[in-house]
């Protein structure tokens, strides 16, 4: 949206309940984030949101506005405010906001966007609040504002007269004074940071380690009933008939009914059972007799056969075409041709999908676990038929997201079911089996038919990828895409990406580092193949590619930042400098996604039975000038590495007759303690760029780094995932 309306950023100060000082903010930056999340311009937020309350006892209550899925945002956003407010972290209390786009603008967890989107506005807010308190102190002492300063710990000082006042003592005065202009406030020099750049444990840790109710699953409301929801195993199927009358007669059952599909509002058709306890409702499912109609008929076998057929036909579309790939392949000194493939995955966060809704007295209250709660709010508005003002939506902590909770299908179900059981709260809880059968799957399965060539000097001169992806009506399914700037695009003079669609009715969507989470495997494994074909060291080969003058459309990877992390990880891992025992190899991979540059090295030992032990993983990362929370930043990288290794070795969802064939963790073996690497080293390459997010970009490179390490250890090149299909297992 472009307009000649001035950008708006302003503060509002007022007296909070209990007599504290409440500082609320409106900023267009949040409105912009909201617009991105919805894919269009929103109505502008109407009222400033209350982010900071300074209490009379000198404690500070800071509102965390974004949903917490384990990415650490509930701790990080308040850290940014507290830093510039110049208070001690021990005096900060954090509260989770409700869902309110008018107050908070963008509230979402996805795309590693929270850090780049909030780093400056949250700091400005804290700095403005500090300026307000300094002005109040100056007025109290009748001295110039320029003569006072804050001393940390929530104290304003006037050096000349050696006087100081605690923030708590200033709240009454500050509430009567005009708010400073947000854009003009003075921010701290990063070298003076006391909170940013330190280890700040999650604010919810005390509740987590003592088992306090915290998650969506932990809801307990007076009179609450429990719901389960049965859907067609084949995607998109709907109910033709169901024995709801029989179910209703069973003991402990409150109600049983058919819910009609409403695809515009993420609602699949199905049969709801509401009971006094979840166990009763879940058991009653065994007595359901449902006739389904319609639904997908996709199968993994048909996908694979069709992909090969598509690879032999002319591609359906051209994504990028630089130079003359055919000619370059003909004249290349060496060429490599390879087919890469990867399966569908399910997100499987530890906490299965759930949502609690209550209709009463013309109002709807929802306790949601959503990465896109504002979209969930819109769905609740449309399905309930109520005005937005009659709906309250709370945000519960989530037991993992990974992109699964970007879709709000279970929230739609909860609202639709609760509407039928008016007057009492209804807690919809999916089983693990529901979760695995009805995901918005990702990775989507995909196939890459690659050719590459190097010249006599070993320089990469040609690269072609015929990408076959799932989709329908000539469009890829959600997050099953390959863009025109994917590395090594622009660094190869003759380069093309072409695409064909494997018809699919399977719902797909983002998973941690969508697209990247598997494109890195293909691109960085094939890059390794070409390095070996050229007879060059894999690190040196990558650096040489990055030194190639750009061809064609620009965008994507910044060569200098990329080289920086490749060199750093090589240095830290002792690349090429250590003698490894037989059966042990090191693999490197680089990937750029979500604004972050990551190079990773895996050292792995493979025995004669193809049992793999990852000895150590090195991560080198450039996510800008500042690591905000040094504890969580490393935790996110370690978790991403473990996640990726687990996916690479063992994980696969297969389809038959339009239904997924894996139903629980016995057939979808997530990585465990004894399989995970004991040592993961993370090194930061601080650069002169704004700080960016860490929820996703550390994951993609570890998969090809592992595969390249297996090649280095054994000479076996793995071109399809998971590794277990090729006889590999964890040692």
């Amino acid at each position: 949206m472009t307009s000649n309306v001035n950008r708006r950023n302003f503060l509002k100060v007022s007296v909070a309940a209990g007599g504290g000082l409440m500082i609320a903010m409106y900023t267009d930056a949040f409105a912009d984030l909201l617009a991105q999340g919805r894919g269009g311009p929103p109505p502008p937020p109407l009222e400033p949101s209350a982010f900071i309350v300074i209490n009379k006892d000198n404690t500070v209550t800071i509102t965390a506005k974004n949903p917490e899925i384990g990415q650490g945002i509930k701790t990080m956003l308040p850290m940014l405010i507290a830093e510039e407010l110049d208070v001690d972290w021990k005096d900060v209390r954090v509260v989770q906001s409700d869902v309110d786009s008018a107050k908070y603008g963008g509230q979402s967890a996805g795309g590693s966007t929270a850090t780049p989107g909030n780093y400056m506005p949250m700091r400005q807010l804290g700095a403005a609040a500090r300026a307000q308190l300094m002005a109040a102190a100056a007025a109290t002492w009748n001295v110039p504002e320029s003569s006072v300063m804050t001393m940390g710990g929530g104290t304003v000082m006037h050096h000349a007269s050696n006087r100081n006042l605690k923030y708590g003592e200033l709240v009454a005065k500050a509430a009567t004074m005009p708010a400073p202009a947000l854009a003009s406030v003075t921010l701290k020099e990063p070298k003076t940071f006391q909170i940013i750049g330190t280890k700040v444990p999650s604010v919810d840790n005390p509740a987590i380690v003592t088992g306090k109710p915290l998650f969506g699953m932990d809801m307990n409301l007076p009179g609450m009933k429990f719901a389960v929801y049965e859907k067609c195993p084949a995607f998109g199927g709907t109910v033709a008939s169901a024995n709801t009358a029989d179910i209703k007669k069973m003991p402990g059952i409150v109600d049983c009914f058919v819910v009609e599909p409403n695809p515009q509002n993420s609602l699949s058709g199905g049969v709801a059972i509401v009971a006094d306890s979840w166990w009763t409702a879940q058991n009653a499912r065994k007595s359901l007799k449902i006739t389904w109609t319609g639904g997908a008929d996709n199968s993994t076998a048909a996908f694979d056969t069709n992909a090969v057929a598509l690879s032999k036909a002319a591609p359906q579309s051209v994504t990028r075409n630089d130079g003359d790939v055919d000619a370059a392949l003909k004249s290349a000194a060496k060429t490599v041709t390879a087919a890469y493939q990867y399966p569908f995955l399910v997100h499987a966060p530890m906490e299965p999908m759930n949502c609690t809704s209550k209709f009463a007295d013309g109002k709807l209250e929802v306790w949601a676990t959503s990465q896109t709660p504002q979209q969930a709010f819109q769905i609740a508005t449309r399905l309930s038929g109520l005005d937005a003002g009659a709906i309250t939506m709370h945000m519960q902590r989530m037991g993992g997201g990974f992109g699964r909770r970007l879709a709000n299908d279970y929230i739609a179900e909860s609202v639709a079911i609760a509407k039928m059981v008016s007057g009492v709260p209804v807690h919809l809880r999916w089983s693990r089996e529901d979760d695995m059968a009805h995901d918005v799957y990702n990775r989507a399965g995909g196939w890459h038919f690659l050719s590459g060539g190097v010249d006599a000097a070993g320089k990469l001169v040609a690269w072609r990828d015929h990408f076959v992806t799932v989709g329908s009506q000539s469009r890829p399914s959600g997050s099953a895409t390959l863009g025109n700037t994917e590395f090594p695009a622009k660094f190869v003079p003759n380069f093309s990406i072409v695409q064909s669609i494997n018809e699919s009715a399977i719902p797909t969507g983002p998973n941690r580092a969508p697209g990247s989470n598997v494109l890195a495997f293909v691109m960085q494994s094939f890059m390794d193949e070409l390095a070996h074909a050229a007879g060059h060291d894999p690190v040196a080969f990558r650096l040489a590619v990055l030194d190639t003058p750009p061809t064609g459309a620009n965008g994507g990877v910044d060569a200098e930042r990329a080289k920086g992390v490749v060199r750093l990880v090589a240095e830290k891992s002792g690349w090429g400098k250590r003698t490894l025992p037989k059966g042990t190899g090191m693999g490197i991979a680089f990937h750029f996604s979500h604004r972050g540059y990551f190079a990773e090295v895996v050292e792995a030992t493979v025995d004669a039975q193809k049992r793999v032990k990852v000895n150590k993983v090195w991560v080198a990362a450039d996510v800008g000038s500042q690591i905000i929370n040094t504890s969580n930043a490393v935790n996110q990288c370690e978790g991403s590495v473990v996640d990726g290794l687990g996916q690479a070795m063992s994980l696969e969802m297969t389809l038959d007759a339009g239904a997924m064939q894996q139903h629980n963790f016995n057939t979808y073996p997530l990585i465990r303690m004894r399989q995970a690497p004991v040592a993961i080293q993370v090194d930061w390459l601080l650069s002169d760029n704004s700080p960016t997010g860490l929820g996703e970009p550390a994951m993609p490179p570890v998969i090809p780094a592992l595969c390249n390490a297996i090649f280095a250890a054994t000479g076996d090149r793995v071109r399809s995932l998971p590794l277990s299909k090729h006889g590999y297992s964890w040692a």
């Binding site: 380690v209 530890m350 299965p352 370690e638 963790f665 004894r674």
Partner: protein, 155 residues
Amino acid sequence: MAYTLNVNGKTQTVDVPGDMPLLWVLRDSLHLYGTKYGCGIGQCGACTVHIRGRAARACQVTVQNAANAPIVTIEGLSADGTHPVQKAWMDLDVPQCGYCQAGQIMSAAALLATTPKPTDADIDGAMSGNICRCGTYTRIREGIHRAAGQKAEAL
């Protein structure tokens, strides 16, 4: 049917079907929400509690089999969150999403009760029944060593 349960030192009576898993009795009848549901088939360990001092998966134990046995849940591991494992978890900032961590802590506490100075191999053996989808295994391992008063082996 009525069953008498001894949970965290308190004796309570619940009126539920005998085949109801202890997990759902703890959560939905006794409102102890620290014990989590992750899979329902004993694969993930999110519902780990102590029964007669040993780690057990509450989704795999029926209420009739748990009756009268001393049961400890995460809420009863310590009065105020000061069990060495809980303290180590907070010191090291182990959790990400936190959903599995009650189960991880209960497995770790059971290990340390029998093996006060565990090796990495001991940890692998005792903790591989607990899945952490966020992948915090490095810190869980370090946390157990910390709680045991040890330096981590490989770090």
